[in-house]
């Protein structure tokens, strides 16, 4: 059993007890515990089930590389699945439950998968997809859905708060072990602005656990002194609980700070995403110990040797009473020694190397530990917990020599540097034969904007395994980084550590060397995804040679730990199966983040009301308070309709249309884009921007214009007014002003930079109200001021003057077909002007109307709408707008493109009106069906609906659409397919449904 010891635990505070629950069971731990160490102290080794076979899973590591010990944390609005117990700080009141089992952790039905493992080999999913479709739907999918998946998705809205921080540093050091501390110190001593981040709560990394002695002092003391020195420096920022998440182009690095994971609900933001620009980055990210591949290496109680050591030294927790250590290197002996020194039993150290001499093995022998050289674990015994191991020869086939009783196995397979951050932005790796690991190749570092390296690496992350070497490389990296950031390197010498001589490790990829298929099927590489040595070998036999393909085929390294434990072992097996060298096979790609970060931290503050800014017109508050049913338009909310008491949206829209056509309606048109084009060459420029001739427009007149892109397609439309000799005012679609303004700027800056033209987007400088309906003139005349009669201000002209004491610019333009004045006033007077119109208009039956009424009225008149009749593939000629395309102009944007054969092809679908025979409303986007099928066996089509509404004016459905040869087929009846599979007949008609001669607007 695992239990709390009385005499060790450098990180726990035994005077501060923390209560927590696991699967409802009450447990206790101490301040300083991780959830994993606290669970182990309560003898809770079994924490979950594996993904595919639902095999029992125990804690295997002590840090971010943990693949098994993931739990559901918290409840309700603070519920979160897949939380790694090894990186979760214990706090009072913590609740968690185990994942991926049914019905219970102890008894899991899905474990049956375990017995059909032969039928769930590598590529199972892909092979299953090849089976008959019915088998997938009725047999495999239900089984997989029941058994797959880790934690549950949260159901409630997250109540916590998240934020982004920004920082700019000379040097960012990632990793607060001794190499990182020394790198930060050396860079700071050189005068650099330094940030040092450490993902755990404590500084110093593994050195204190390994008993390092630095400058003659115990590591803990040196660490405390160094941290104190750094804290005292003004040019240093220190951050614990902050992981270097990703390294990106040009010195961009993200830090993930878990501010309040351990103090939920205290009002602080839970996570903070730091977005940092660094001139130089030092990755001192340490290394991860590798498991060894022997049969049964996934049984709870089998753990990394370094983790066993961490739990004893840091948390005072023993994994078992009797621990067998299995190793291929000297470092494993540190665990054996630490256990014995803590009063625990180590029945045997199983060392795969044939000769075992050296300082650490001999110290172990002196402590009375039995060391067996050239041996291996043939098989681990036990189900939900280790009960013993069978020992065999490493160079044999697994024949048992003896059985050793134990309740824990510590495996030491050598160390793999954490090269993730080095690799994120293109840093290359080199295979180190001696250590059997990949480490950063300093000659092929990630390079920045100036072409020089911007990432350095230090300590064991660089493959510098000894304490003195780690300190020296940290010191060198710190100084080099400061120098590259423009400072003069400090001349202080690096500290020195007591040297512990270690003999060479031996690469051991499977144990024993000649293990047969039965054993290889029980050697786990990826614990979470259930990928075994036999799976990788099968993939190689089936022709998967690329490591990236093998990864996807077997799912090796695709679990939430992203292969931190399994990567190198899997590569070695693949290389061996392919008779290739490991460096030839290479690694899979390292992508950020290093370990998963919360989605909420990425969103930061951008949620709820401040997800994106809301633009408000000067009338917004009035609209909100008068029954508006809003719809989003660009960054605005516009009223779709104004609901009166008891009305449905549909009823309100009908009423608004009728009232506007019969009496008087007001539309807040302030969102309409307004762009000023001014200068001696403005006319020439306008002629290029629009398909129409705009240079000849007379001062005081308005003209409807079209804009196309260089590909000839319609991009925007609106009314242009000539202000004076060298000034035009361009109205754009709502939400289109920024885009069109940018479009104009692009041409002026990059093509016609010698033209004297200035453009300004004045959309928000003006409020604009459309005063529409037969009574429109009456209300303006009642308010009094300028002459708005037809004689003084005819249709398609504009004038400036005062109305009701307001400074106005009045445009006689109509998007409804009614007598209409669009009136602009300074934005500051917009609300007052609106109020004045509403008050004066009362006797004339004034009502505000929304965007749906606007759309219906324009459709009744056959006016096109950008985004309805256009979709980026429509040219003006398709919409019968040839009258708006100048034939006199030599050039305009889109002209050349419209001359292409496909654009002039008479077979292009063209705009017409559509009337259903039964008066119903055609479905939006419905296709017109033609006789026969196409090559894919689908029905042929000859057109589609672009706009469709119920017209309250006509009391029937009306629509516009583009139809093959449409304008030549007036009166013909064609069929449209509905979503329910039935057809509806419609007649091709003129697209102007109402007031065909335009008499109503020109009065």
């Amino acid at each position: 059993m695992s239990t709390r010891l009385s005499n060790t635990g450098r990180l726990v505070n035994r005077s501060a007890v923390k209560n927590f629950t696991f699967n409802g069971k009450k447990m206790q731990g101490y301040e300083g515990d991780t959830l994993a160490s606290a669970l182990l102290a309560n003898d809770q080794m079994l924490v979950g089930r594996s993904f595919k076979y639902h095999r029992p899973r125990g804690i295997v590591a002590s840090g971010g590389e943990e693949p098994n010990a993931l739990v559901n944390m918290g409840e309700g609005a603070r519920f979160e699945p897949n939380q790694r117990t090894t990186t979760t700080e214990l706090f009072d009141g913590l609740t968690c439950t185990s994942q991926n089992h049914w019905p219970s952790l102890e008894f899991d039905v899905g474990v049956a998968n375990n017995y059909v493992a032969r039928f769930l080999p590598a590529g199972f999913y892909y092979k299953t997809f090849m089976a008959p479709r019915a088998a997938w739907k009725h047999v495999f999918e239900p089984i997989i859905r029941q058994s797959a998946g880790l934690g549950k998705a949260p159901k409630e809205m997250d109540v916590d708060r998240y934020e982004h921080f920004y920082a700019f540093e000379d040097v960012v050091v990632v990793g607060g072990g001794i190499a990182g501390l020394q790198a930060a110190k050396a860079a700071a001593d050189s005068g650099a602005q330094v940030m040092l981040m450490e993902q755990t709560t404590d500084w110093g990394g593994r050195a204190p656990v390994d008993g390092a002695v630095i400058d003659g002092k115990p590591a803990d003391q040196w660490i405390d002194e160094t941290v104190a020195a750094l804290e005292a420096m003004e040019n240093v920022t220190l951050r614990t609980r902050m992981m270097g998440a990703g390294v990106y182009d040009h010195g961009y690095i993200t830090g993930y700070e878990r501010v309040a994971d351990h103090t939920p609900g205290d009002g602080r933001p839970r996570h903070r995403l730091w977005r940092i620009r660094a001139k130089q980055i030092v990755t001192a990210t340490g290394a991860i110990e590798r498991p060894l591949s022997f049969a049964g290496n996934d049984i709870p109680g089998v753990m990394l040797a370094s983790a066993v050591r961490d739990y004893v030294v840091n948390y005072g927790v023993s994994i078992g009473e009797k621990t067998v250590v299995v190793t291929n290197n000297d470092d494993g002996y540190r665990t054996a020694i630490a256990l014995v020194e803590a009063g625990l039993q180590v029945p045997m150290v199983v060392d795969a190397r044939s000769e075992v001499e050296g300082e650490l093995p001999n110290k172990a022998r002196d402590l009375g530990i039995r060391v067996e050289a050239g041996k291996a674990i043939g098989k681990v015994k036990g189900g939900k917990r280790v009960t013993g191991v069978g020992i065999c020869l490493q160079n044999g086939e697994g024949g048992a020599l003896e059985e050793v009783k134990c309740d824990a196995v510590a495996m030491a397979g050598g160390w793999s540097p954490v090269v993730h951050l080095w690799s994120h932005c293109g840093g290359k790796l080199i295979w180190d034969e001696t250590q059997a690991h990949f480490r950063p190749d300093a000659n092929r570092a990630p390079t920045g904007a100036n072409g020089e390296a911007f990432v350095l690496t230090a300590g064991i992350a660089n493959g510098d395994m000894g304490t003195t070497e780690a300190l020296a490389s940290g010191d060198a990296a710190g100084k080099a980084a400061a120098k590259a950031a423009g400072h003069k390197a400090s001349r202080k010498a690096a500290p020195k550590a007591d040297v512990v001589a270690e003999n060479a490790m031996a690469p051991v990829w499977i144990m024993p060397q000649n293990a047969g298929p039965d054993l290889r099927m029980k050697m786990w590489l990826d614990y979470q995804n259930d990928v075994k040595v036999s799976d990788v070998q099968l993939a190689a036999r089936e022709g998967y040679e690329s490591v990236e393909h093998t990864k996807r085929y077997t799912t090796l390294g695709m679990a939430t730990d992203q292969g931190k434990l399994s990567n190198i072992n899997g590569l070695a097996i693949l290389a061996d199966s392919l008779n290739a060298e490991i460096p030839q096979v290479g690694t899979t790609t390292f992508r950020p983040p290093y370990t998963p970060i919360s989605m909420a931290s990425i969103a930061g503050e951008a949620r709820g009301e401040i997800f994106q800014p809301l633009r408000k017109t000067p009338m917004h508050d009035w609209i909100e308070n008068n029954g508006a049913h809003f719809e989003p338009v660009g960054h605005w909310r516009r009223p779709y309709a104004y609901l009166q008491d008891g009305e449905t949206v549909e009823e309100a829209v009908k009423r608004e249309v009728k009232n506007t056509r019969r009496k008087l309606g007001l539309l807040d048109a302030s969102t309409l884009g307004k762009i000023i084009v001014k200068g001696p060459d403005a006319g020439k420029f306008m002629d290029m921007m629009y398909t129409n001739m705009m240079s000849t427009l007379k001062v005081g007149k308005c003209r409807y214009g079209l804009m196309c892109n260089e590909n000839g397609f319609l991009s925007d439309d609106g009314v242009v007014a000539r202000m004076d000799e060298d000034t035009w005012l361009c109205h754009t679609t709502s939400g289109g002003a920024d885009r069109i303004h940018g479009w104009m700027e692009e041409w002026l800056q990059t093509e016609w930079w010698d033209w004297d033209v200035y453009v300004a987007n004045v959309t928000e400088q003006y409020a604009q109200v459309a005063v529409v309906g037969p009574n429109a003139r009456k209300v303006l005349e009642k308010l009094g001021g300028m002459d708005v009669t037809k004689g003084s201000l005819p249709f398609m002209e504009w004038a400036e003057g005062q109305i009701g004491g307001f400074d106005t610019r009045v445009f006689r333009i109509s998007f409804s077909g009614e007598l209409s004045y669009e009136i602009a006033v300074p934005a500051s007077q917009g609300r007052a002007f609106w109020d004045a119109l509403m008050e004066a208009g009362e006797e004339f039956g004034v009502q505000p109307y929304g965007t749906e009424c606007l759309h219906i009225m324009r459709a009744e008149k056959g006016f096109i709408m950008i985004g309805d009749e256009t979709d980026g593939t429509i040219i003006p000629q398709d919409l019968g707008l040839n009258w708006a395309i100048s034939k006199k102009k030599e050039d305009f944007l889109g002209k050349r493109a419209q001359e292409r054969t496909f654009m002039t092809n008479p077979d292009r679908w063209k705009l017409v009106g559509l009337e259903t025979l039964d008066g119903s409303v055609l479905p939006d986007g419905a296709y017109a069906i033609k006789e026969g099928d196409n090559d894919n066996g689908q029905r042929n089509m000859e057109g589609r609906v672009t706009s469709t509404y119920h017209s309250p004016t006509l009391g029937r459905g009306i629509a516009m659409g583009i139809i093959h040869n449409g304008p030549d087929r007036m009166g013909e009846v064609i069929e449209f397919g509905k979503v329910d599979g039935t057809m509806v007949k419609a007649k091709i008609v003129d697209q102007v449904f109402f007031d065909k001669n335009g008499e109503k607007q020109d009065v």
């Binding site: 390079t447 904007a449 692009e746 990059t750 050349r896 001359e899 292409r900």
Partner: protein, 110 residues
């Protein structure tokens, strides 16, 4: 995330401040041009592995368009310069050649 120095306002701008505008120094072909010329102008874009000249706009800054010379492999920035020129400045071309002796030179592919 790139940083490019805007040659107009002098700001070392983050990529989030910038809008990319594709290949630099295109020649516009309008009415009267051949189909081939128009196709080249409209659609045919260089996609070199290495030195590339491109257009950027300091969209969330001073609003100006400018040109940048950049390595598409390493993202090394050789320089930024005015949008109002038909080809890269001679001193910039010289500097790139010095750094990348194997580079065939501006326009060599055309």
């Amino acid at each position: 995330m790139l940083i490019l120095e805007c040659p107009y306002c002098g700001v070392a701008a983050e990529e989030t401040e910038l809008a990319a505008g594709g290949e630099a120094h295109l020649t516009r072909f309008g009415p009267g041009s051949s189909d081939d010329d128009f196709e080249t102008y409209m659609f045919m874009r260089e996609n070199p592995k290495g030195v590339n000249f491109e257009r950027w706009r300091h969209a969330n800054g001073c609003g100006k368009w400018f040109h940048a010379a950049r390595c598409t492999m390493t993202l090394e920035v050789f320089g930024t310069y005015s949008a109002q020129t038909y080809e890269p400045p001679a001193d910039l071309i010289k500097a790139i050649k010095k750094k990348r002796p194997d580079w065939p030179g501006y326009g060599a592919h055309k």
